[in-house]
Assembly symmetry: C2
Homo-oligomer: 334 residues x 2
C-alpha cells in the first residue's frame, strides 16, 4: 500500500504539494500541468491516504459510533440503516457499539470513546439507567447525541411521538371504535409520556371517554405485552380495541389474544407503534403506525456531524415524512 511519498516521487514534486493538491487547498496555485501529473500518479497507484496518519494530524477521525442495546433488535433496524446511509453520504464511517458494554466495561469505554477512535457518539437509549450513565460519561468527552428520545442537556433527535400516537388512535376511532384501551410504553421516558399524551389527545378530540383501568403499562417486549394483554382480556367490560405504544408488546397482545380465544381483529383490534419488516408476515398481519425511523437515523447523523463541526447542541424533531398508519389485518371496524 503505497503512500504519499510514492505519489510525490512519481509526480516529481514534494509530498506537501501532493497533499494540498489532493485535498483541494484553495490557497494553492499550481500549474494545471503539475496538478494533472499529481492526480495521474495518485490514480496510477490507487493512492489512499492513511487513515491513522490523517486522523492523527487532523485530530479528526471521520468515524462516528452508534451505541445500541441490541444490534439484533428489529425495532432498531430502520434507524440503524438510516444512520448508515447518512454516514456513507457524509463520507463518515459508522461503528456499532453495545450500550451495556460501553457503560459497564471501562476498558471498552476507553478504547472506543476516549481513544479518539470516533469523533462523536450516537446513543439509542432503551430507557434504563445504563443509558443515562453512558450518555453522561460520553458527553463529557465528545459530542454526543441521543436518538429517539428527547434530552435537555444533550443533542437529541426524535420523532413526533405524540402525533404518531394520535394517528394510531385516530385509526381506531375512524373504524368506529369507542372502547379503546392503551398499553403504555414503560421506562418513564419522554417518548413514553408523549405517546400516552397522543392517545389521550386523540380520544379527547373525538369526545371519547378514556377508562382509567384500560390504560396500563405494556412494556417493550413480547412477554410484557402478553402479560399486559392477559390483564386487559380478563376485565369486564373488556375493550374492543387496543393501541399499543410498542410493536413488540403489540405482538405479545396478539399472542395472548389467540390463547384466550379472542379473535383479532373481530373481537379485538390491535395497532402497534413502529413498523417491522416482518409485521406483514404475522398472523394476522399487524397494523401499525410507522414513524419516519430511517429519516430519524439520517437526521441523527446530520445533527452529530454538525455538533462535531460547530460544537453547538441542538434538538431536532423529524416530522418528514409524516408518520403513517399501515393498515394490515389486525384492525377492523367496530
Amino acid at each position: 500500500v503505497a503512500g504519499i511519498e510514492e505519489v510525490a516521487r512519481r509526480a516529481g514534486v514534494t509530498v506537501g504539494i501532493v497533499s494540498r493538491v489532493l485535498n483541494g487547498d484553495p490557497t494553492l496555485r499550481v500549474r494545471p500541468e503539475t496538478r494533472e501529473r499529481i492526480h495521474a500518479a495518485a490514480r496510477d497507484i490507487s493512492y489512499t491516504p492513511n487513515h491513522a496518519a490523517r486522523a492523527l494530524r487532523r485530530s479528526r477521525v471521520g468515524a462516528i459510533g452508534l451505541a445500541v442495546h441490541d444490534v439484533t433488535n428489529p425495532v432498531y433496524a430502520a434507524i440503524i440503516s438510516g444512520a448508515q446511509r447518512a454516514a456513507s453520504a457524509n463520507r463518515v464511517v459508522l461503528m456499532l457499539a453495545d450500550v451495556p458494554e460501553l457503560a459497564d466495561d471501562s476498558v471498552a469505554f476507553s478504547r472506543v470513546v476516549r481513544s479518539g477512535l470516533i469523533d462523536g457518539l450516537l446513543l439509542l437509549p432503551a430507557g434504563d439507567e445504563t443509558d443515562d450513565r453512558l450518555v453522561e460519561m460520553a458527553s463529557e468527552v465528545m459530542p454526543t447525541v441521543v436518538v429517539n428520545e428527547s434530552s435537555e442537556r444533550h443533542g437529541s433527535a426524535t420523532i413526533d411521538n405524540e402525533a404518531a400516537m394520535r394517528l394510531a388512535t385516530q385509526h381506531l376511532l375512524d373504524l368506529g371504535h369507542r372502547e379503546i384501551a392503551l398499553l403504555e410504553l414503560d421506562g418513564g421516558t419522554v417518548r413514553a409520556n408523549d405517546r400516552t399524551l397522543g392517545f389521550r389527545r386523540a380520544m379527547a378530540d373525538a369526545g371519547v371517554e378514556v377508562r382509567p383501568e384500560w390504560v396500563i403499562e405494556g412494556g417493550h417486549t413480547v412477554a410484557a405485552g402478553e402479560a399486559a394483554a392477559e390483564v386487559l382480556l380478563a376485565m369486564d367490560p373488556r375493550p374492543r380495541a387496543v393501541a399499543v405504544a410498542n410493536v413488540m408488546a403489540a405482538m405479545g397482545v396478539i399472542g395472548a389474544a389467540r390463547r384466550h380465544g379472542v379473535e383479532v381483529p373481530s373481537d379485538l383490534s390491535v395497532i402497534g407503534f413502529n413498523d417491522l419488516h416482518f409485521a406483514e408476515l404475522l398472523n394476522p398481519g399487524l397494523t401499525v403506525v410507522a414513524p419516519p425511523l430511517r429519516e430519524l437515523g439520517e437526521a441523527a447523523v446530520a445533527l452529530l456531524t454538525k455538533q462535531i463541526d460547530c460544537g453547538e447542541i441542538e434538538h431536532v424533531v423529524v416530522r418528514e415524512p409524516a408518520s403513517k398508519v399501515i393498515v394490515r389485518a389486525s384492525t377492523a371496524p367496530a
Copy 2:
C-alpha cells in the same frame, strides 16, 4: 484528553518508559516504585492511548470490518452478534459495512479497506456476484475471511450445512412423513449444494424416494418461497411435508399455504433452515433447524484475528454446538 506526555510529567519519567511500562515490555527493568508511580499517574488522568497514533506507529489498528448485504436482515442477526461478542473479547473493534457499497463505490472501498482503517475483513456473502468481486478486491489488500460459505482461496468459516439439513429432513421422517419436498437455496453456492445434499442423504438413508419434481428452487426471500410454494401446491400428487433450505422462504411457504387453504401443519408440515428471533411469533410458529450461527460469528472473528497475526489462510467448520431442530407448530405427524 491528556496524552502520554502528561503521564510522564506526573510520574517524573520520560514518555518512552511510560509506554513500555504500560504496554508491559518484558525486556524492561524498572524499580517497582517507578512502575507504581507511572500506573498511578495514568490512573489519575484516566490516560487512554490515542488510537490513531498507536495505529500509525504499530501499523496495526485493532479493528476489523464485517461486510453484510443488509444489516437489518434478521438472518444475519445471530452471526453479527456472535462476531461482536468475540471482537469485544479480543479487544478489537467491529465495524459494519455494506457489501454493495464496498463493491460498487470505489471511494467507499478505498476509505474502508485501503486506508488502513481496519486490519482485516469479514465478508458474509449472500450469493451474488457482488460478493465475489468484493472478496477478490479485499483479499488483495488485507486478510479476508468469508463467513457462512466455503471458499478455496480465502479463509472461510462455515457451519456443517449438510448435517444440519440432514437433521431437518430427519425430523420430517421421524414424524412419519414420506411425501417430502425440498425447496432448495438459490445462488449456486456451496452451502446451497450442501443443504440439498443433506436432504438427499437423509432421504436415501431412510430408504425414501425423492420425487424429482418435488425438488425445486425456493430462493432466500419470502416472495421467492411463496412463489415456489405455489408451484408445489398446484401439483398432483402434492407433498405432505417440505424442507426449506432458507427460513425466509419457509415463511413464504406458510403464507402461500394459508392463501391456498392448505392447513399448516395438518395438511403440510414445514421446516425452515436457521432460527429467527420471531419464529415463535409466526402463526403457526415455525419449526426450524438451528445451526450454531452465533458460534460461527465468533469463530470467524477468531479465524480472521489469527490470519492477521500469522498470515495463514485456514478453513473452519463450526460443529459445536451441533445444529438442533427447534420444534414449533409448523410440523406435525403425517
